[in-house]
Symmetry: C2
Subunit: 592 residues, 2 copies
């Protein structure tokens, strides 16, 4: 009835799924999940993802009943929500990311005598989530990695917005998950009998080699006159329908938002259990620290922000005398040096590890037989799931710094997930190589000439297009310092002309800066503005113009967003408004 009252109060919302899954969600919060409402960020808590994010009312109501303090009725927000789902399927990938983080950290830190990382991940998905491509990709990986502590609960209510799922769905979803390698269980909860669901969870918990898929047959909009139809998907109820629903469950209290005190008491029991478990976990951690001080120190870094003081000193320093390389080549060297001092750096490529030069040498492949603790993640050709999974990692542990690599052109496959990184403050590091036409023989399908514009338009994302080794190292530094937002490195396949005399790693944080200027005390006549592999073209052109007696300035615009954030004075200093002869050079769309 809290769900009903909330949707009536807000005059909007998606009560249908919330009503259909109310009993299941209550069971999870009351009996299954381990959490502590007075310590909501407790590291070893179970994680919960509502992939069918439109049903968030359900989660708010559960959080309220469990007395998470900041949840407010009808206002539909909670600071205990860590991530944004909504675009369907994303949450499934996020949940795989959370379970991956648990498995990876467990393999790295647990000892035969003490497990400091040991929790489950639950995810609720709907029909839409189940048929989106990203969820199939992510589910395939979850089984490949044997993430047995992951439980995916499928709200099988047989309705989507446009009508019955019969309109567009005839596959056997359970059989598909079985084919992917999951333990699958079907539960009929349309009559509200939770015994079968309880048994399904027991089976899930006893599974040690597979993630578990629980298909729960439910009734959308249960109790209401719209029940079982797509009309219940979203929107409010008629007043007399509300009255009828309350009668059906003998809800004689007429006051809205009423909660029977016993429900709070019931939920309190689970909260108390969570509190005791957190205490136990702290005792374990104490024991761990004494017995394994070195591992404990690293583990604590990962629970905080993952930064060892002075980490940035490990970044390579390049000069003009160094051999020339591609910026993907410089990037690979930065990444490998950083991996030595940042224990949370973990990630991989969608089957292009060597092309992207995004492989951590000697740090193992996650879940391969000899390296369950490996920090290289082999995503296979699954760009979208890679991005969705990456979003789950920093949200699991503040110190995890995920990187996700592919060709820039394939960022299209991941775009919604990249967007959600910014909305969820997931500090993913996107390493996108082959960033323009200089990609070799693959042709237009693989030439990302328009992608920089689209990615630069995503609010908050920091997009770096470094020109050489120095700027690449600088971009890594700024990216890792700014982990409340994702960063994206657009990198060349081809060798750049070498390190440019005037570039500076430390200037990357300004977004744009003067690389060279022969104007001495005067203002330049011409400003050449370049980024990435085209900055050296600007330098070469400036040299020619300089010989012709022109006053020329070259500006590197390595990150537009950071340059925009500088003071008016600084921007005027770099790009004086009185100099109107400006040429921008970038091998891509001029948009912007």
């Amino acid at each position: 009835m809290l769900i009903v009252d909330s949707v009536q109060h807000a005059k909007a919302g998606h009560a249908g799924m919330a009503l259909g899954m109310a009993e299941v969600a209550y069971f999870l919060y009351r009996h299954a999940m381990r959490y502590n409402p007075t310590s909501p960020k407790w590291f070893n808590r179970d994680r919960f993802v509502l992939s069918a994010g439109h049903g968030c009312l359900l989660q708010y109501v559960c959080l309220h009943l469990a007395r998470f303090q900041s949840v407010q009725h009808g206002i539909m927000s909670s600071r205990f929500l860590c991530y944004t789902t909504g675009p369907l399927g994303q949450g499934v990938a996020n949940a795989v990311g959370l379970a991956l983080a648990e498995a990876n950290l467990g393999a790295r830190f647990n000892k035969p005598d003490v497990a400091v990382v040991d929790h489950r991940t639950y995810c609720i998905m709907g029909d839409g989530c189940s048929i989106e491509g990203i969820s199939n990709e992510a589910a395939s990986l979850a089984a490949h990695w044997k993430l047995h502590k992951l439980t995916l609960i499928y709200d099988d209510n047989h309705n989507t917005i446009d009508g019955s799922t019969d309109l567009a769905l005839s596959e056997d979803i359970s059989a598909r998950f079985e084919a992917l390698g999951w333990n699958t269980i079907t539960v009929d909860n349309s009559q509200g009998n939770l015994e079968a669901f309880k048994n399904a969870l027991i089976s899930a918990h006893s599974e040690t080699g597979k993630p578990t898929f629980i298909r729960v047959k439910t009734t959308i909009g249960k109790l209401s006159r719209k029940e079982g139809t797509s009309k219940a998907h979203h929107g409010t109820f008629d007043d007399d329908d509300v009255k009828l629903m309350k009668q059906k469950v003998k809800w004689d209290d007429t006051e809205a938002f009423h909660v029977i005190p016993m429900v709070y008491r019931e939920m309190q029991a689970q909260a108390d259990l969570g509190g005791r478990m957190e205490q136990e976990w702290h005792s374990k951690l104490y024991y761990y620290q004494n017995k394994y001080p070195e591992e404990a120190a690293e583990f604590k870094f990962l629970l905080a922000d993952g930064m060892l003081p002075g980490w940035e000193c490990s970044l390579p320093k390049w000069s003009m005398s160094d051999p020339v390389d591609s910026t993907r080549g410089y990037s690979g060297k930065c990444l490998n040096e950083l991996a030595k001092v940042l224990p949370g750096l973990i990630g991989g490529s969608a089957d292009l590890a060597s092309s992207n030069q995004a492989y951590l040498h000697n740090l193992g492949d996650f879940k391969q037989p000899n390296s369950p603790w490996g920090r290289n993640i082999r995503y296979g050709v699954r760009e979208h799931a890679m991005a969705g999974i990456s979003n789950g990692l920093p949200l699991h542990s503040g110190g995890l710094i995920p990187f996700a690599a592919t060709f820039l052109v394939l960022s299209d496959y991941m775009k919604n997930s990249i967007r959600l990184s910014t909305l969820s403050h997931a500090g993913v590091l996107y390493i996108f190589t082959h960033d323009s036409v200089g990609i070799g023989e693959d042709g237009p399908t693989h030439q990302p000439i328009e992608h920089l514009a689209g990615l630069r338009a995503i609010p908050h994302l920091l997009l770096f297009r470094p020109a050489d080794g120095k700027e690449t190292a600088g971009a890594y530094k700024v990216a890792i310092e700014n982990r409340n937002v994702p960063s994206l490195l657009a990198l060349s396949r081809q060798k750049v002309a070498g390190n440019v005399e005037g570039t500076l790693a430390d200037a990357v944080g300004k977004g744009g800066y003067i690389v060279s200027d022969n104007s001495e005390k005067e203002l330049p006549e011409i400003i050449l503005i370049g980024s990435g592999s085209e900055l050296c073209l600007c330098e070469a052109s400036a040299n020619v113009l300089s010989k012709e007696g022109r006053r020329v300035r070259v500006v590197s615009l390595v990150c537009w967003r950071l340059f925009n954030r500088q003071t008016r004075d600084y921007k005027e200093l770099v790009l004086p408004s009185s100099v109107s002869k400006r040429v921008s050079v970038e091998a891509g769309s001029p948009l912007g």
Copy 2:
């Protein structure tokens, strides 16, 4: 050996897949597929899609052996290729689109006594294609629609770029396709025995309710020293490896690009068969025309460009006195009027048909029991497959005009396919509603404030953001007139202020034009430039400024790309360069 010679000559290419699948592809072109090299665009030919597009050498070689005239060795291009695949998984969706077109047109035009639409669609995919989310979405739909004339051939060579598929793949792909509803067959072709493959095709051809998935176990880079390893995926061979390969198959001819004359003769037999079948088809068509003249006339329109003269007159005409509506509402009315005069207009939404107002009333749902001929396609929550399938439709028949609808924010899920629409000249009509912050209660995950910028940067795509009914109708007209490129309509959820006095349907083709100006014979002091739901804000502001005695012009910039294509004089007329006070108003990213 043509494959080997080609990759050596071009010093690049992906010979591994081509060698592993050479026998299968040869069998398809020699024995299975119906085509006529002297009439390559014959309507009733079988369609072939190489989803693993990097292996295009294989296709070029087959086209050469079949004597399609414009194929040239080593130059790797052919004007007989209709679409661009490459980004993995796309081709599977394209093939489903081709098979859908065949099934839809067959249901609409075939008669009990004569089938004028009757061909098969073949698609080869690799490991990468098989695990990309888009292929699972598309395969799910193919089975739902019972596209039994579609045969998907899976090149199971157990290798991707990064190494063995064991790195990232442990699902049972055949079982997954079975769960999706496919007829599945496994063939071991690693020893070059084509008998089993032949039997698989016979089984596929006898299947009447399901598409068929043939898993062919092959050896990547067969014959070469790299065979069976990921090293064979791409790149050239050592010269002595080439020598060894030629010895292995007793290829004593030393000249590169040698073809044994018998091979041409063998292939010629199939070409001759295709020629005879085309003749038979023309006879059928003649009979059909005599017996069913009305249907034949419509069918012929669909084989050409699908345009009935005067079609544009059916577009609604709005004026200021009409009731206000959202632009999605105006769009829905245009779409339904157009559907009456454009028999090729066919499409659907990814489970948002009513939200998008993209439903053709009284024209049935494709493949629902009562309407196999339906022109509404129910894609379910599968945006990416919707876009990939839509690309297949206009490439099947010039007169098919597909529309694909969802929320603008979810264009992210389809971005790569949209990009491929432009590269393949597939005139898809993208109908994207809820185009900015005015979307109701859904919040930031569903507010596409950055998407216009990214989409406008895609070369060739025509993006329209109409302000009212008149401009919406104008946008439809221009979009349908320009079907060599895709068009995108960005439409509001909320009602706009009404039809604006100065807007003109006929001006949309210019991309930008003057809506109002109170300057009389002088130049304006200020130009307000708006698009979509913000144009009326510009008009309202202009009224205020006008009352204050200012000379103000309002410009509608409904399609940036078309405006950019106008003459310098016209652009100067609309936006005089001497008027530097310009305000652009669009509820989205200012990028651009």
